[in-house]
């Protein structure tokens, strides 16, 4: 059985903490008017992205969603360029053209976020097909939400991945909500992972706030995929600790529900694991300090980066004529 070593635990903690702080900082900047558009925070779900990406190699792929900052960071994106993108700056991942919902990163194999709920799912199948054609042993992890699993491309794509035996891991982030709608209202089944079977993709349910459990499950799925045994569906049960986006107060989220999930906040759980593994608090405090510094730097970088030039933009879009 898989047992994480100290190094892995620490690296997971670092990334989870970085995501948490990135989101907190971003929301602040949004409220200050420095970030516009939709901002979907990943707070409460950090263990899913970090657990999954910790099971991956750098040359593996991920496909992300509108709630994608966590995926970016987990796969190794540069938070300076992420923040710059949120600020709409030329140094951002999309040159300020995309904003929060459209960050992608070739270097770390992040195919990108998507403003269309479910839009990335078929793309992941295509990435899987590309890998298969190369006969390499890479894999693609496709992140998507409980809401996205109601979009028809979900079933279509699972089926395609199954019949072609593609190395795709469908990672369903069930955070209990699709915007303001509770998952109870959009499915009569308790487990969305049940949807895999009929398409020939074995489904599994896991507790998504424990990065170790997520990592272990994805490692298994990845091994299967690398061996040419095809796709997997993993439903990670987790919780969106804020409203759907910055401006959504989430008043429809029952306080008890939130409390229960806050009591199993992924950052609390990983901190406990670190403690159990005998890692020194001073080491952790040092990491936290580094993260604070990095966040500050990222904000400064974003702030002082240049706005994209309108003239240049208008010149560039002539390719569309």
């Amino acid at each position: 059985m898989f047992l994480p070593d100290k190094e892995l635990l620490i690296s997971m903690y670092r990334k989870m903490r970085l995501i948490r702080r990135f989101e907190e900082t971003g929301m602040e900047m949004h409220k200050l008017g420095l970030i516009r558009g939709y901002f979907h925070s990943y707070i409460g779900e950090e263990a899913v992205a970090v657990g999954a990406c910790s099971a991956l190699r750098r040359d593996d792929y991920i496909v992300s969603t509108h709630r994608g900052h966590g995926h970016c960071i987990a796969k190794g994106a540069d938070i300076k360029r992420m923040m710059a993108e949120l600020f709409g700056k030329a140094s951002g991942y999309s040159m300020g053209r995309g904003g929060s919902m459209h960050i992608s990163d070739r270097v770390t194999g992040n195919i990108g976020a998507n403003g269309i709920v479910g839009g990335g799912i078929p793309l992941a199948v295509g990435v899987g097909m590309g890998i298969k054609l190369e006969q390499s042993d890479r894999v693609a992890v496709c992140f998507f939400g409980d809401g996205a699993s109601n979009n028809g491309v979900f079933g279509e794509s699972l089926n395609l991945a199954a019949i072609y035996r593609l190395p795709v891991i469908f990672m369903l982030e069930n955070n209990c909500y699709a915007a303001t709608t509770h998952v109870r209202e959009t499915s009569t089944c308790t487990d969305l992972s049940e949807r895999g079977g009929g398409y020939g993709v074995a489904g599994k349910n896991i507790f998504g706030n424990d990065p170790v459990e997520v990592c272990r499950t994805v490692l298994e799925a990845a091994e299967k995929a690398r061996n040419g045994e095809g796709p997997s569906l993993i439903e990670a049960k987790t919780y969106r600790q804020y409203g759907h986006h910055v401006r959504d107060k989430g008043t429809y989220m029952p306080p008890q529900e939130l409390e229960i999930w806050k009591s199993r906040d992924p950052l609390i759980l990983i901190a406990r694991s670190l403690e159990d593994a005998g890692i020194d608090t001073s080491e952790i405090q040092e990491i936290d300090r580094e993260i604070e510094r990095d966040m500050k730097n990222a904000v400064a970088y974003a702030k002082y980066s240049q706005e994209p030039s309108v003239e240049e933009f208008l010149r560039e879009i002539q390719i569309y004529e």
Partner: protein, 326 residues
Amino acid sequence: MPRKLLYREALNEAIREEMRRDERVFILGQGIAARGGSYGVTRSLLEEFGPGRVIDTPIAEASITGLAVGAAIQGKRPIVEIMSIDFSTLAMDMMVNQAAKYPFITGGQGKVPMVLRTQGGADHGLSIQHSQSFEAFFYHVPGLKVVMPSTPYDAKGLLKTAIRDDSPVVFIEHKLLYETEGEVPEGEYTIPLGEAALRREGADCTVLSYSLMSLKSMQAAEILAGEGISCDVLDLRTLVPLDRKAILDSVKKTGRLVVVNEAVKRGSVASDIAAFAAEEAFDYLKAPILRVSGKITPIPYNAALEQACVPSVGEIVNAVKKVMES
């Protein structure tokens, strides 16, 4: 003092009145029940009409639209809300191959009295997949009607008519109009589809537009008036059916035409109307027909870039001045 309502309130009132009037009317969409819709259009309808007629749906644009088509065929009058017209790409088959075709297939016997309500337009940095203007898709499909109101008054009167219409109607709102205010009388009224509104009369040039661009066209006309150029400002209100007569009357009078819309210029409704005028009013034209439209590009996030993609009042002014030179 005449009553004033916001655009979203006018829409809400239209839906409410029609749901009271006809129990076959129901509404479905994402977050439209307890939440009241992303832009507040369906607020408190749930309380009045209950969850049987005010229905939250999963994210399944194709099938909720198809549900509306099927229910309409069965005899109901559904309103389906697609949160953003960008997502209507997922419902295209249901609109284009099902809703639009069914009356034809049945020799006019089968009716499809449904309304697809949605919203488009760029702003707020919603960027690439939440800012588009796709009316041209629906405009091109025989069997669909297309409505794009610019004022609260029109929004209410046209939505009521759309709900009562026996054809599928694509009703497109603009995200920047929801919080605009305008006069809406207390009593019952409807506005027929296919009638443009002449918002302002002038002799020199016709400025033709719809939805948000009507407001910008009015601002442009105001500026131009200050420079001695008087414009007919024609707000189409419905694109299908198109008020060809109003267009021709105005163009024949002024001899000049500027067509304004927010959608990408290439293949836009503006192009079609320009072509129509070039075909039917050629002998009256004193100048090239100019289109002021969205830039041919996806809509970017950065505020300055975003604004550079959308027609501005200044661009409309300049276009009119340019045709005045001919």
